[in-house]
């Protein structure tokens, strides 16, 4: 199981971080927080260790092309990219985002470069890329997802340099090779036909009240949410690990399971349960956008919300053996400007660079809690632990 061992190694490398990025700043203490608006968590991506791969071995087939464009700025960069991208004709884009269609259409209309999209869930897209690179099949150019950080760690990406755009991304670090585009903000939502707002607690632990038994739903795969919430309660609230685990065991015992955050929002809206513990803000906002009277909410009438708001950044990255490097770079530039504007306005997705009137309007940055990268990369430990926690309940 080559693929498997590769991924397992990647996941289990918590205590032995291997920085294969070989980027400027690699091997130093770096801030890997690429998320916007969030509290900045400083972690050690390079861990101060020697990079294990030489730059030459690490350079992909598209490295020269990327470096050429990375060195350019302004209109000259754009003109050169357009000319080269139109020559290449198309770009292959992998994503797990559900709101990318309008972005892609806008890009195609603007530049007359065709976008081949592979859409799937985060897990399947990640697995696809790892498997393809493992086998020496290089079809993908650009990837936008939370797992962009994972493939960058695996050394499959090339750096992206464009300070004009990235200077506005809070916590941006070129060493990660990933420029954050969107934020997945986990929250709780309720159906106002079934629950009165006065019943809604101010923080997640309020749902452990026995009156919620049998009225909740959660996604049993949301281990990322679990580590974010866990950190919040242990660091900000001073809870012990046992207290946190007990809370999750109770929440899970009170809940039914439904996969997917938008699925949860839809079933909540339909009245299948009274409240959902694991939805994204945009899953709720999108329903309200579609029908202003939809009886679903994550914000109270005074604008308040249920603590904690936990988020993980999703970002865009360039593949080192991209068959269409210019188109890939042009698409990335577009995604970080017009793309995130479309996502914020049309899809109500929180973006790394926030817009006035955006979905997280009125929420102070310190109230958004980013999931720790180190824990995120240790998927094996935490996914299994969350699963066992739910099974035990």
């Amino acid at each position: 199981m080559l693929v498997l061992s590769l991924i397992a190694a990647a996941c289990a490398s918590d205590g032995d971080p291997v920085d294969t990025t070989a980027a400027p700043g690699g091997g130093q203490q770096t801030t890997t927080t690429a998320g916007g608006g969030g509290e900045e968590t400083t972690t050690t991506a390079g861990g101060g260790e020697e990079t294990t791969t030489t730059a030459a071995a690490d350079r992909g087939t598209a490295a020269d092309a990327f470096d050429g464009f990375n060195a350019m700025t302004g209109q000259a960069r754009t003109d050169a990219l357009i000319a080269a991208a139109q020559e290449e004709g198309s770009v292959t884009f992998y994503t797990a985002s559900s709101g990318m269609d309008p972005v892609i259409e806008a890009f195609e209309d603007t530049y007359d470069v065709n976008v081949d999209v592979f859409a799937g869930t985060s897990d399947t897209v990640l697995q696809r890329i790892m498997q393809e690179y493992e086998a020496g099949f290089y079809g993908i150019d650009v990837f936008d997802d939370a797992e962009a950080y994972t493939i960058a760690r695996e050394g499959l990406t090339h750096e992206y340099i464009n300070p004009e755009l990235t200077k506005d991304i809070p916590g941006y670090d070129p060493a990660t090779h990933v420029a954050a585009t969107r934020l997945s903000v986990y929250t709780q939502a309720w159906n106002s036909d079934l629950v009165d707002e006065s019943e809604i607690p101010d923080s997640l632990d309020g749902f452990t009240d026995p009156k919620w038994d049998g009225r909740l739903s959660m996604d049993p795969r949301d281990w990322v949410w679990y580590i974010g919430v866990r950190d919040f309660y242990m660091q900000d609230k001073g809870w012990t690990e046992e207290q946190v685990d007990e809370m999750f065991a109770t929440l899970s015992a009170y809940s039914r399971y439904d996969r997917g955050h938008t699925v949860q929002a839809q079933l909540l809206l339909a009245g299948e349960f009274d409240a959902s513990l694991t939805v994204y803000t945009q899953s709720v906002d999108r329903e309200i956008e579609r029908d202003a009277e939809a009886p679903i909410h994550w914000r109270k009438s005074d604008g308040g919300w249920i603590e904690p708001l936990v988020f993980f950044p999703q970002g865009v990255t360039l593949l080192k053996n991209a068959p269409h490097p210019a188109a890939a770079m042009l698409f990335t530039d577009f995604l970080l400007t017009e793309g995130i504007r479309i996502l914020s306005q049309e899809d109500r997705t929180p973006t790394s660079i926030s817009f006035p009137d955006g979905p997280l309007d009125g929420i102070p940055k310190e109230d958004l809690h980013q999931v720790d990268f180190d824990l995120f990369f240790d998927r094996d430990t935490w996914a299994t632990r969350f699963d066992e926690l739910l099974r035990g309940s």
Binding site: M1, T92, D101, D123, T124, D258, Q266, E287, R379
Partner: protein, 592 residues
């Protein structure tokens, strides 16, 4: 699965004597010469080619599966089994899987067989309605069918429970239970049994039944002593198919089992695949395969001598219908009720949802919010039309490829005298025990390291290979009984009259097998359009299929758009199936 499955005494094909002159050559040089000339023989060439193709399709994914399960870091290891089975709740999972598989197989079997018997052999009213009823669940993809039943019978918002709450003040059925899963899976795979048994009942020589009646047997005795024993090969084949299908079904446990934590083997495999532990997923699959293989062996023992079941003989026959008499009215009512319950309601709930701005329980107020927006969204979607095209190409293509292959393979197994022909039979069966998800993982691994001279990965061909492999066993289950039922005496007569192998095939075997082969073709067209679990890991940009589109929308939680696709898909498939049956009617595929 042994040679004996179709031919327990090995004499089934012995009546077709090879031309004697071949054996007249000397013992030494003769053998090589015979081997050489046989290579040039069209018949032998065809057969060898088929063995190679079948072997290649069946073995490549399986070899990978075993490799991935037992080889770790270059050495033999059972660690994947430890990872796969070391979790709390394993016994509950095994128990649930068994109840689920046995329960749905039995339900499907009882429903499918009764419907088939009534439809084919009696003068029931609404006969074409009955045939339609039997087939509609087959047309609706598992994912959509499960969603439709959730909409109908979820305890809180299901339509059926809404009605029962008005009448008796409480919900009558909770879909989120083991019983709910069995109901949905059982009714969903019942059409498979129906198609099988319909073919068997149709091809049965009714004079045997008539003799029984003439000799004074009661209807019931006739059924028990004549009809059922006659269709036993089809019986065992059908039970085998549905049991294996139920145990490897993925969508229904995922949608209905998960909310109330009813886990079965496949939900666990899915969990492991999602955690990238393909070794553990393989270890679980290997056990599923073992269970299936044990089942197949057991069933093979139940079959008797295939030659005893040959009822299509040189004698003329015309299946005669049985007069239901006074039971005609009540049975018609049951047919109508069944039609409404399993075809009309799931379809209507999808139609209703497809017009809503968001999914909600049934209310007259909701009609005020009806619009075509979901359909408009669909046609705006970048990949919708492309997916429709791909799905049609793939389903027609794989169905045709499979029926040609299994038509020849069936001859080889039932009539051929080649040593090891039993192995061919087992090979065609093998892919059935590999769950779709695992097949996807395996094929992507194999074709990323392409063993063939053409690029397969990232093209539509990898899907074609996946479908042709996955559905070959089903095609085979159609082809074998349709050949078993044809008595060799027809071919023997032709042979005696001097016909060549090709002439016998063209003039006798193929025309007689066509109803069975066509039924198999239609079945594969429909299942290919629904195929999800292996496509999920094999599709690529511009090679999306409809099932993938449904899955993507469902994953996004857009149940209203999912319903719109469902409505369009069901309507399209109804048109395709109707055309196929109309055309088929001319070449002997009968529906009434």
């Amino acid at each position: 699965m042994t040679v004996d499955a179709y031919d327990s005494d090995g004499s089934g094909g012995a009546f077709i004597e090879e031309p004697p002159r071949r054996a007249d050559r000397g013992p030494d040089g003769g053998r090589i010469w015979r081997w050489f000339t046989s290579l040039l023989d069209a018949k032998a060439l065809t057969l060898i080619l088929i063995v190679i193709v079948v072997g290649y399709l069946a073995i490549t994914p399986l070899a990978y599966l075993l490799y991935g399960t037992f080889i770790d870091d270059g050495g033999f290891s059972l660690d994947s089994f430890r990872r796969a089975y070391e979790f709390s709740g394993i016994w509950a999972m095994v128990f649930n899987s068994l109840i689920y598989a046995v329960g749905s197989a039995l339900l499907a079997f009882v429903i499918g067989t009764s419907l088939a018997y009534v439809a084919i052999r009696t003068n029931v009213r609404f006969k074409s309605l009955l045939v339609a009823t039997a087939l509609v669940p087959l047309i609706i993809p598992g994912l959509l069918y499960a969603i439709a039943w959730i909409m109908l019978s979820s305890e809180r918002i299901g339509f059926i429970n809404q009605i029962s709450t008005v009448i008796i003040d409480r919900p009558i059925f909770n879909i989120y239970s083991l019983g709910g899963m069995i109901w949905v899976e059982g009714t969903h795979i019942a059409p498979l049994v129906f198609l099988f048994m319909a073919a068997a009942f149709r091809n049965m020589d009714p004079s045997l039944e008539e003799s029984a009646l003439v000799c004074g047997a009661s209807r019931w005795t006739m059924l028990r002593r004549v009809t059922i024993p006659l269709v036993r090969p089809a019986f065992t084949g059908a039970i085998l198919l549905v049991a294996v299908k139920a145990i490897e079904g993925f969508e229904i446990p995922a949608l209905i089992g998960l909310p109330t934590r009813i886990y079965v083997f496949t939900s666990r495999i899915y969990f492991e695949v999602q955690n990238f532990d393909f070794g553990a997923a393989g270890a679980l699959s290997v056990n599923l395969m073992l269970i299936s293989i044990i089942g197949v062996f057991g069933l093979a023992k139940l079959r008797g001598n295939a030659r005893d079941y040959a009822t299509v003989t040189g004698k003329g026959f015309r299946p005669q219908t049985i007069d239901l008499g006074r039971a005609k009215g009540p049975i018609a009512a049951v047919v109508l009720f069944w039609f409404i319950l399993t075809a009309v309601l799931p379809f209507l709930v999808m139609v209703y949802t497809s017009f809503l701005p968001y999914y909600q329980k049934f209310s007259f107020a909701a009609f005020g919010k009806f619009s075509w927006a979901n359909y408009a969204d669909l046609f705006d979607n970048r990949i919708f039309l492309q997916s429709v095209k791909n799905s049609l190409i793939l389903s027609f293509g794989s169905a045709t490829v499979i029926m040609v292959i299994v038509g020849i393979a069936a001859w080889l197994v039932v009539r051929g005298r080649m040593r090891g022909r039993g192995i061919v039979d087992q090979l065609t069966f093998l892919p059935m025990v590999v769950p779709g998800l695992v097949m996807g993982v395996a094929l992507s691994f194999v074709y990323l390291r392409n063993p063939l001279p053409w690029q397969i990965y990232g093209t539509i061909w990898i899907l074609m290979i996946a479908y042709s492999t996955r559905f070959m066993p089903y095609g085979m289950r159609y082809a074998v009984p349709s050949l078993t039922q044809i008595s060799p005496e027809l071919e023997e007569s032709a042979h005696v009259a001097g016909a060549t192998w090709w002439q016998i095939n063209r003039r006798i075997l193929i025309p007689l097998m066509i109803p069975g082969l066509l039924a198999g073709w239609i079945y594969i067209v429909i299942t290919s359009i629904r195929e999800l679990s292996s496509s999920l890991l094999l599709y690529s940009p511009s090679n999306e299929v409809l099932a993938i589109l449904i899955w993507i929308y469902n994953d996004k939680g857009e149940l209203t758009t999912v319903s719109a696709i469902g409505v369009l898909l069901v309507l399209t498939l109804i048109v395709i199936v109707t055309i196929a049956y109309k055309l088929g009617g001319r070449i002997g595929l009968q529906t009434d």
